[in-house]
């Protein structure tokens, strides 16, 4: 009994748990509203489907959250998704073994992460600009990989690959969902339980203080960008597996979705704050909105307006909740 109370208290003490609870309530409300608007929304078929649609958003959200917590931003995510999709598909159409292609692809994408980290932490470029640059460059690479064409079908040899990343199921759940669950567990562990994770928070909170405490700024920042690039590369592979071909503009705007998911889930764009549990909820809200609004038959224009308002309001809520307390404390 006491143990449980203790657990609850400790849960609530975790950084950012408050915001996570707020948005979880929001998510539940959304689901109820959509379920009422259109009963199919709540069908088991749609839920499996919905989860699979949310999975990539969770992945890019994890990556962006890592970077945001260091106090930076990664605008190159979408382009890395495109790069990953094109490189893997091109290699497979050229006859490389799909799993070898996967490894090469991930390696190439991680390089973008390394470059981002170095530009931001070592060369001290503003992260917005540095990753705006690599975003353009990575998109260029995605386009140049197959000489400015989308690739042909990756063929039957890649069936295992396609099943692994998208079409297969394990224990009744789509593999895509498993991938995002497993990666989430790993990255959540790394962020909350390891030294590198601690350093990521420290850098985002006060980079000078972290430096003076002997935290390697360049190394840690680069690690965060590598995580982001890795997650994006996995999403690229999922997209490649989904459509069975490489598309040059895959992942367009994903960096913004990732920011939205992170921020809705309570990750601060100013660094030092947020937990990956929030990112999952944020991604779920994003995915449910897209899916639910389609079922509700809302035209694109309305959808944009609704999504924009939800982004603003959710952060507004957070700001009100968060500054309400410290301000009070300040004044007494």
């Amino acid at each position: 009994m006491e143990n449980r109370q203790n657990f609850l208290r400790r849960m609530m003490a975790v950084r950012g748990m408050g915001q996570v609870l707020t948005v979880t309530v929001g998510l539940i409300v959304l689901c109820i509203v959509f379920g009422i608007l259109n009963p199919t929304f709540a069908s088991s078929k749609n839920i499996g489907n919905l989860l699979r649609q949310i999975a990539p958003i969770i992945l890019i959200g994890i990556g962006q959250s890592y970077v945001l917590i260091t106090g930076n931003i990664d605008l190159s995510i979408g382009s890395v998704v495109g790069m990953s999709c094109m490189i893997s598909a091109t290699l497979m159409t050229k006859g490389l073994n799909p799993w070898a292609a996967v490894l090469v692809t991930i390696f190439c994408c991680l390089l973008v992460g390394v470059v981002n980290g170095q530009l931001v932490a070592k060369c001290k470029l503003p992260p917005f600009i540095a990753t705006l640059g690599t975003m353009t460059i990575a998109r260029g690479i995605a386009q140049i990989v197959n000489n400015n064409y989308n690739t042909d079908s990756i063929g039957d040899a890649a069936k295992g690959f396609r099943d692994f990343f998208y079409y297969g199921k394990t224990l009744g759940l789509y593999n895509t969902i498993w991938i995002s669950i497993i990666l989430w567990l790993i990255f959540n562990f790394l962020l909350s339980k390891t030294r590198t994770g601690r350093h990521i928070y420290a850098i985002g909170s006060n980079v000078e203080a972290a430096k003076l405490s002997g935290v390697g700024i360049v190394g840690t920042t680069t690690k965060a960008y590598i995580v982001s690039a890795f997650c994006a590369s996995v999403v690229g592979l999922i997209i490649c597996a989904t459509s069975g071909m490489g598309t040059m503009d895959a992942g367009n705007m994903y960096e913004m979705y990732a920011v939205a998911a992170s921020v809705i889930g309570g990750v601060s764009t100013l660094g030092g704050q947020g937990i990956l549990l929030g990112t999952v909820i944020g991604a779920a809200i994003w995915g449910v909105l897209q899916n639910g609004l389609q079922f509700a038959g809302a035209p694109v224009a309305i959808r944009n307006i609704v999504i924009g308002i939800i982004v603003v309001v959710s952060v507004l809520l957070d700001v009100v909740v968060r500054t309400g307390k410290p301000r009070k404390a300040k004044k007494g």
């Binding site: 950084r15 420290a202 405490s213 002997g214 030092g272 004044k331």
Partner: protein
């Protein structure tokens, strides 16, 4: 006491435009407390940063424990047993106390952070410092003085043999200072060597064995503290005699200028009332966190007021935002110059002009560059701000000169009341005297001066009337001639009675 464990000889270090250290020597023995003294910009922090591996020296040699160190880095310094408490607060405000204390040296068990273990150890150190805070408190929620104590705890937790403290007390309360001194004495008895930097010279007598003095980046002298006195130390620091540490002028007390009646704003400003007269400086004393800054901010319209009246020259005025106060003739030189006082990326000219654009601009809002230049030049020469020209960034000035710019931008207009919040914090003796002279000049002109300070000698030395605050309330008021340190302290700590009463 014995051998030198740190021997620095002939160290030089230049920054663009300045030679911060010029062929400096510095020695430290085991088991001593050495005060490193000098004016603002003398190079004290720079020297210590070189010693702790944050800056690289341009030339010279450093020996630690008899061995020459060539490639000093923060990591290396830590391995050698050198720890430093920086002049500026360097906390990760989102992390907890324990997380901050062990930042960069986290304890892990097979790769997993052992948070429990670290919290336990942090608790031990905090207890040693008599600090009653839980190690899992988020640092950002702590008061500044507590954060400074955490900073000290962090340095202690490294079990350093050489501990450098760069102005550790500038944000501490007197009780905390006592605890710190107790710890320092204890460390000393354990054989630890401590470098102590402070502009509060009256502290030295409690702990210091030896002093080393720098001036303009040059080594001046080292003396045993017992063989010298404050006058000699100051003369060495400043390079000339300072006749009066607290110059005072006497003026005739004139008519009432300004009155605050029953001001309430949040929990830290409760029912505050006081009056200002022509020809007098009113000092507000109190401990850190007494609500003095909050009071000034509420008056100036930065924070919202709940109730209360503000009367200027007999007329009640409404102040909802700083511009209202400025227009009415009430100005505030805030406490934290980096955070609240200066636009560090803008030039001195732009900083001084900023609150005075209403005077400088014509009807269409276009800045009159001539008027602006005249105003800036006047402020720079009146306050003797040391700068090559008025176009350089305010951020690149030394602390004292930055403070002068903060003050200077308010003197360029004809105000009725000037509020100074801790105007002398962290600036050297000579610069302090200049600020005092400035306040005296305002007093002579018949302008009301309100002066917040945590340093009792200063309050007693400069003001004509002293108001003491504690816990958001005015707990005492007295004429300076009748004031004693004990009396002020008694009023400043009268919240304990309240706590007792509540309990």
């Amino acid at each position: 006491m014995g051998e030198y464990i740190v021997e620095v000889s002939g160290v030089s270090k230049g920054f663009p435009g300045v030679l911060a250290l010029d062929n400096v020597n510095f020695n430290l023995k085991a088991g001593e407390v050495l005060a490193l003294l000098g004016e603002n910009g003398a190079g004290k922090s720079t020297l210590m940063k070189i010693l702790s591996g944050i800056y690289e020296k341009d030339s010279g040699t450093i020996k630690v424990f008899g061995e020459e160190v060539h490639d000093m880095s923060p990591k290396k310094a830590q391995e050698l047993g050198v720890a430093i408490i920086h002049q500026e607060l360097n906390m990760c405000s989102h992390l907890t106390v324990a997380e901050n204390i062990f930042l960069g040296r986290e304890k892990t068990k097979s790769g997993i952070l052992s948070d429990k273990e670290m919290e336990k150890q942090a608790k031990g150190i905090l207890d040693k410092l008599n600090m009653d805070i839980s190690p899992d408190t988020v640092v950002g929620d702590l008061a500044v003085s507590k954060q400074q104590m955490v900073e000290i705890a962090k340095a202690l937790s490294t079990n350093a043999k050489i501990l450098i403290m760069d102005e550790p007390t500038s944000a501490l309360t007197s009780k905390e200072i006592d605890d710190l001194f107790r710890i320092i004495r204890q460390l000393k008895s354990e054989g630890c060597a401590i470098v102590y930097i402070s502009h509060r010279l009256e502290e030295l007598q409690h702990i210091v064995d030896r002093v080393t003095i720098l001036r303009d980046g040059q080594y001046i002298t080292s003396m045993d503290f017992g063989d010298t006195n404050l006058e000699e130390i100051i003369a060495n620091m400043v390079g000339r005699e300072i006749k009066e540490k607290f110059p005072r002028i006497s003026c005739k007390k004139g008519k009432k200028i300004f009155e605050v009646k029953n001001l309430n704003a949040g929990k830290m400003v409760r029912d505050v009332s006081f009056e200002l007269y022509e020809g007098e400086i009113v000092g507000i004393a109190g401990l850190m966190g007494a609500g003095r800054t909050e009071t000034t901010r509420a008056i100036f319209g930065v924070d919202a007021k709940e109730s209360g009246e503000i009367i200027l020259d007999g007329k009640p005025i409404t102040i909802n935002k700083p511009m209202d106060a400025i227009r009415a003739g009430i100005v505030l030189a805030p406490e934290d110059r980096k955070k609240d006082g200066l636009c560090t990326k803008l030039s001195i000219r732009e900083n001084i002009a900023l609150p005075n654009l209403d005077i400088i601009c014509d009807k269409l809002g276009i800045v009159n560059r001539k008027k602006e230049k005249v105003m800036t030049q006047k402020a720079v020469s009146d306050l003797r701000i040391k700068t090559p020209n008025t176009e350089i960034n305010a951020g690149s000035l030394s602390g004292g000169n930055q403070q002068k710019v903060v003050v200077g931008k308010w003197l360029a207009r004809n105000s009725r009341v000037v509020i100074f919040d801790e105007p002398t914090r962290g600036i050297d003796v000579a610069a302090k005297v200049e600020i005092y002279n400035l306040m005296n000049e305002l007093k002579r002109q018949g302008i009301g001066v309100l002066f917040v300070s945590s340093e009792m000698p200063e309050v007693m030395g400069i003001s004509d009337k002293i108001i003491v605050m504690c816990d958001g309330k005015v707990t005492g008021e007295m004429i300076t001639e009748e004031a004693t340190q004990d009396a002020i302290l008694k009023y400043a700590t009268s919240f304990e009675k309240k706590v007792a009463a509540e309990a």
